[in-house]
Symmetry: C2
Subunit: 161 residues, 2 copies
């Protein structure tokens, strides 16, 4: 069955924080997220990919108003973990293709990635769920990305930008 | 409001494929997923974290029955992209904490990661959505992870393993 895309969603209120080069052993993910949770900081996306040579990068997004506080908390932790210097970026947005019946992401992802590539919009992060595929891109591409995806999936009407 | 966890979900029918060291420029994500979609291979999770020195790792999961076919397709592409050797692993499972009202993942993630760490279960990948937090772990930890998370979130009754 052809998955149907029902809309394009986006969030400007995102800032990403990356702890690069964390050791890939049990307890590390908790060491990073525990203090963030204890500080009542809302976390949206959490991304960790496979490790290489026993290290991996741990990235999460917070609301922009929590960015400075979260960076402070994570800088202390990173040192204790022997990670590399914490990286942060407030100038990002999350853009998502929302679907129904997305039994598989492959077709929708291929269309989404192709249309962003045609506009030379670089994808910084990718995360999927049952009902959507989200990418993080530079905030300067928000309108272009949303318009391009509306066209790519033949969606009419306007998202309120 | 305290996010409520409604259950623990898992999927054994997963195999992960990683293309390490892909160039971080527009068009690359499509170059990898396009041929996979064209081959009608179902894709579940797609994870890409931030790049370092212009390269990043691109990982996705497929059904185990598609693993060999997907690996063949991706090996050809990886060479063309100048990526490192493709890595694959069929011996993984995806375990997810499913919640309602998860305005923020931080608290649930902290509990989830802490309980897996206490059992010395290493987290290979992390991916989140509005309603759940998913981790990829070695398949040998499936039962232990599900039981541990049931206890951690005080869920009673049994998931059908
Ligand atoms: C990197 C981090 O996820 C580690 N593997 C852990 O289990 O906590
Ligand atoms: C790595 C890959 O995501 C690349 N940044 C792209 O936009 O396709």
């Amino acid at each position: 069955e052809a998955p149907r895309v029902s809309g394009i969603a986006f969030s400007r209120n995102e800032a990403k924080i990356t702890v690069p080069g964390v050791p890939d052993r049990p307890g590390i993910a908790h060491a990073i997220l525990g203090p963030i949770s204890a500080a009542h900081i809302n976390v949206d996306v959490i991304i960790q990919n496979v490790s290489e040579a026993g290290k991996t990068d741990f990235t999460f997004t917070v609301e922009r108003s929590d960015f400075a506080k979260a960076m402070d908390i994570v800088r202390d932790i990173a040192q204790g973990l022997g990670a590399d210097a914490v990286q942060g970026d407030e100038h990002i947005v999350k853009v998502s293709v929302v679907g129904v019946g997305m039994r598989s992401h492959a077709g929708i992802a291929a269309t989404m990635f192709a249309s962003l590539a045609q506009e030379n919009i670089n994808i910084q992060m990718i995360s999927t769920s049952e009902i959507k595929i989200s990418v993080v891109v530079d905030e300067k591409y928000l309108e272009l990305a949303v318009r391009t995806l509306h066209t790519a999936f033949a969606l009419h009407g306007e998202a309120a930008l």
